[in-house]
């Protein structure tokens, strides 16, 4: 008995169960269906990946001049390298492009800074307000001796970021109000909010953008003109607010009824109850879904192409209408897709991480 025990303690697992061999046996070749699948996928990857690497890197053209591309069989990244400034900044004056660049850097720094949940307090809110203000000034100019730049010249990545960041920042308070309105006991206000939310969520964003570009000017009295970017921004805010309202409503419904009653029995009025007891908890629950709204708002800003605003996608498209660069759409679109992907991937990863952290908090 004891002999067997000591023997089994010294016997190592068979070589086919450990290391790379063991791992691939367990994860790739367990059963004949899985083996066939693995081989099939490997064959597919072999057919796709090496030619793609050849095309995208080994035989690719990077020199920022046109004309050299037609000779090589690889990708023509020249379309990106030669037009990078136009793609990223649109018609923004060439010598002032450091300003939108600086604004983007500030935004990225702010995002990094607020990643840590320990920094979430009122101070952060002030920092963000100041940051957004500085970014606005950098783009617009006209203050502190900065040369003023017309909004018609704004374009590219700064415009995309502007529409999504300001869109979310402005839509959040509106969304919270709508959610509170939908939850309140006054039937008239409640039905207004319900109609608004359902109406906006029922129609595509593009119809609101059409509205902002062709119908909205009719709403204004004669002589009053609001510029195109602001109109699109308003449409995006109104659209995003309805989605935020639904997310916040989910948070409000997640709060135990006892909290409302406790707040009421302490003698807090409605606004105090909401501001001090309910909203701080509800908003905390809805942070992860809010990040996914930010992601979709960021992706949806690309729709302003259709009303001819020069966002990142539109600048890319107009580069491609240049006869010199016609026919290299894939390269340009892949480049833009990478920018979008990196941003969205970072955000969705962060949202997932946050969800995990907040989840353990509640247990």
């Amino acid at each position: 008995m004891s002999k067997i025990e000591t023997a089994s303690a010294t016997i190592k697992p068979p070589k086919t169960n450990i290391g790379i061999v063991g791992w691939s046996r367990a994860h790739l070749f367990n059963g004949w269906i899985n083996s066939a699948l693995t081989l099939f996928v490997l064959y597919g990857l072999y057919k796709v990946v090496p030619p793609f690497i050849n095309w995208a890197f080994l035989h690719a053209n990077w020199a920022p001049v046109s004309g050299t591309c037609s000779e090589s069989s690889g990708a023509c990244w020249s379309v990106v390298t030669a037009n990078i400034r136009f793609i990223l900044f649109g018609f923004y004056p060439h010598n002032l492009q450091w300003r939108p660049l600086l604004a983007i850097v500030i935004l990225v720094l702010l995002l990094f800074f607020s990643q840590n949940r320990k920094r979430w307090n009122m101070k952060l809110l002030y920092i963000w307000t100041a940051g957004l203000f500085i970014m606005g000034v950098l783009l617009k100019g006209g203050l502190f001796g900065l040369e003023s730049v017309e909004t018609d010249n704004w374009g590219g990545l700064p415009l995309t970021l502007l529409l999504s960041v300001f869109g979310l920042a402005a839509a959040y308070p509106v969304g919270i109000l709508l959610a509170l309105g939908r939850q309140c006991r006054m039937p008239v206000i409640r039905s207004f909010c319900v109609v608004y939310i359902e109406l906006i969520r029922g129609v595509p964003l593009i119809s609101l953008l059409f509205m902002s570009s062709v119908v909205f000017p009719l709403f204004l009295p004669e002589g009053v003109v609001i510029n195109k970017i602001l109109r699109a921004q308003i449409a995006i805010i109104l659209f995003t607010a309805a989605y935020i309202a639904e997310v916040v409503r989910g948070g409000l419904q997640g709060i135990n009824k006892g909290h409302y009653e406790a707040a009421e029995s302490l003698g807090l009025n409605y606004f105090q109850t909401m501001r001090l007891v309910i909203l701080p908890q509800a908003l905390k629950i809805v942070i992860p879904p809010s990040v996914s709204i930010l992601i979709s708002a960021f992706k949806d800003t690309s729709l302003v192409v259709i009303i001819a605003l020069y966002d990142l996608l539109k600048t890319t498209q107009s580069t491609l209408t240049d006869p010199k660069w016609m026919g290299y759409s894939s390269e340009a679109y892949i480049f833009v897709a990478c920018i979008y992907f990196v941003c969205c991937f970072a955000m969705s990863n962060y949202s997932r991480k946050l969800e995990k952290e907040l989840d353990t908090d509640r247990r």
Binding site: L37, V188, V203, F210, V305, S329, I334, Y340
Partner: protein, 390 residues
């Protein structure tokens, strides 16, 4: 303060009266705002001498539409043009939804595969396609058709009778023959009979305990009846295959690059979301359920049909319908790549007639009808699900 019950409550301290006041203010505010906007609009319209109303729908449209199932020409009215656009939206959404559900389910299941490679590959697919704007994907596929695919003369020919070129996708279809109509009728009859049979078998099992192999019978009917009808009709096999003539194909069915790009973009994008939904739905059914079902002696098919699917579908269907609605709403992006869907036709109408309010209003109403009918379905489904729950 302490014995205030007999005292009259000051007007503003009474929550009910205060609520009434708030609501009156809200209504007044909304009314004032709408009055302001409407009066501005009317003044503006008058100045630009645009007449309001839907009278323009009867006027001649004077623009061509690239693809249409109806018999449409530029001499037809705006109303008919919009109808063509509406049908195009329905077609692309319907085909898109069917393909999305199939692809999304496959990828969602692949995500849960025990095969590391397959699972990681589908995870990358989901992440990649979710994080790129759908409009950019549409542009990409559109450019793919026009720039990368060869001209019809060098068309790719992956399967016999199917050609892929920068003129779109061309494939052969069977030549029309009455036997096909008969087969289609037989198929519908078989499906209806199958549903009735299933209900009847269910009731019989409930009362007598005897079961029928309904699955096998229905499969036999659904395959057998149309086949029989086709054979009785003379078993026609003539094909209408595309042939290259000059610079383009003659015969067969052509799917335009616009339609294919739109469909491809929408399906690949939405399938990534559907895959996540399917994965979450399957994972929501705990493993104990399956083990319990097996241990009470259910066969594998019954385990899936009677235990796993009903529970997974309860989690899957609500978000799935909202994804279907999203696909329908995103099909409005067709306007960017020139497929004549409803929004695109309405946009052209607005440009030509200047009837911006009516045009945008029509777009909104059409999509509201879609979303309202979807939520009606959702309510019905939720109610049905609730009955199952004990």
């Amino acid at each position: 303060m302490d014995t205030a019950s007999s005292e009259k409550i000051p007007f503003l301290r009474d929550p009910e009266k205060r609520a009434l006041l708030y609501q009156i203010f809200t209504v007044l505010g909304v009314a004032l705002l709408s009055y302001y906007l409407i009066s501005n609009t009317l003044a503006n319209l008058e100045r630009q001498s645009i007449s309001t109303g839907f009278g323009f729908l009867h006027k001649e449209a004077a623009f061509e539409i690239g693809e249409s199932v109806l018999d449409y020409s530029a001499a037809d009215s705006y109303g008919k043009a919009l109808l063509v656009g509406f049908i195009n939206t329905l077609i692309v959404s319907f085909i898109g939804i069917v393909l999305t559900v199939i692809l999304g389910t496959i990828i969602g299941i692949a995500r849960l595969s025990s095969n590391w490679l397959v699972s990681k590959l589908s995870a990358s697919y989901i992440e990649l396609f979710q994080d790129i704007p759908v409009l950019l994907q549409l542009f990409f596929w559109y450019a793919f058709f026009y720039e990368i695919l060869p001209a019809p003369k060098q068309a790719l020919n992956p399967v016999t009778g199917v050609f892929l070129s920068n003129r779109g996708l061309v494939f052969g279809v069977p030549e029309y023959h009455p036997a096909y109509l008969a087969a289609l009728t037989a198929l519908i009859v078989a499906i209806i009979a199958g549903i009735i049979l299933k209900k009847w078998a269910h009731r019989r099992q409930d009362t007598t305990g005897k079961s029928l192999p309904t699955g096998k019978i229905i499969t036999a009917m659904v395959i057998g009846l149309p086949l029989l009808a086709w054979l009785l009709g003379g078993a026609p096999t003539a094909m209408n295959t595309p042939v290259l003539k000059g610079f383009n194909f003659k015969g067969g069915v052509t799917v335009t690059p616009e339609f294919t790009a739109l469909l491809l973009g929408l399906v690949l994008y939405t399938a990534a979301f559907v895959a996540e939904i399917v994965r979450a739905g399957i994972q929501s059914v705990s493993k104990g359920q399956q083990e319990a079902a097996v241990s009470i002696g259910l066969k594998p098919g019954q385990v899936l049909n009677l235990v796993i699917l009903p529970q997974a579908l309860r989690v899957i269907v609500p978000p799935l319908t909202s994804q279907m609605l999203n696909l329908t709403k995103n099909s409005s992006l067709a306007v960017a790549i020139g497929y004549p869907d409803f929004v695109s036709v309405a946009g052209t109408t607005i440009n030509q007639t200047g009837q911006a309010i009516e045009g945008v209003g029509l777009i909104m109403i059409v999509y509201l009808i879609f979303s309202l009918s979807t939520s009606a379905f959702m309510n019905w489904y939720n109610k049905k699900i609730k009955l199952v729950e004990r």
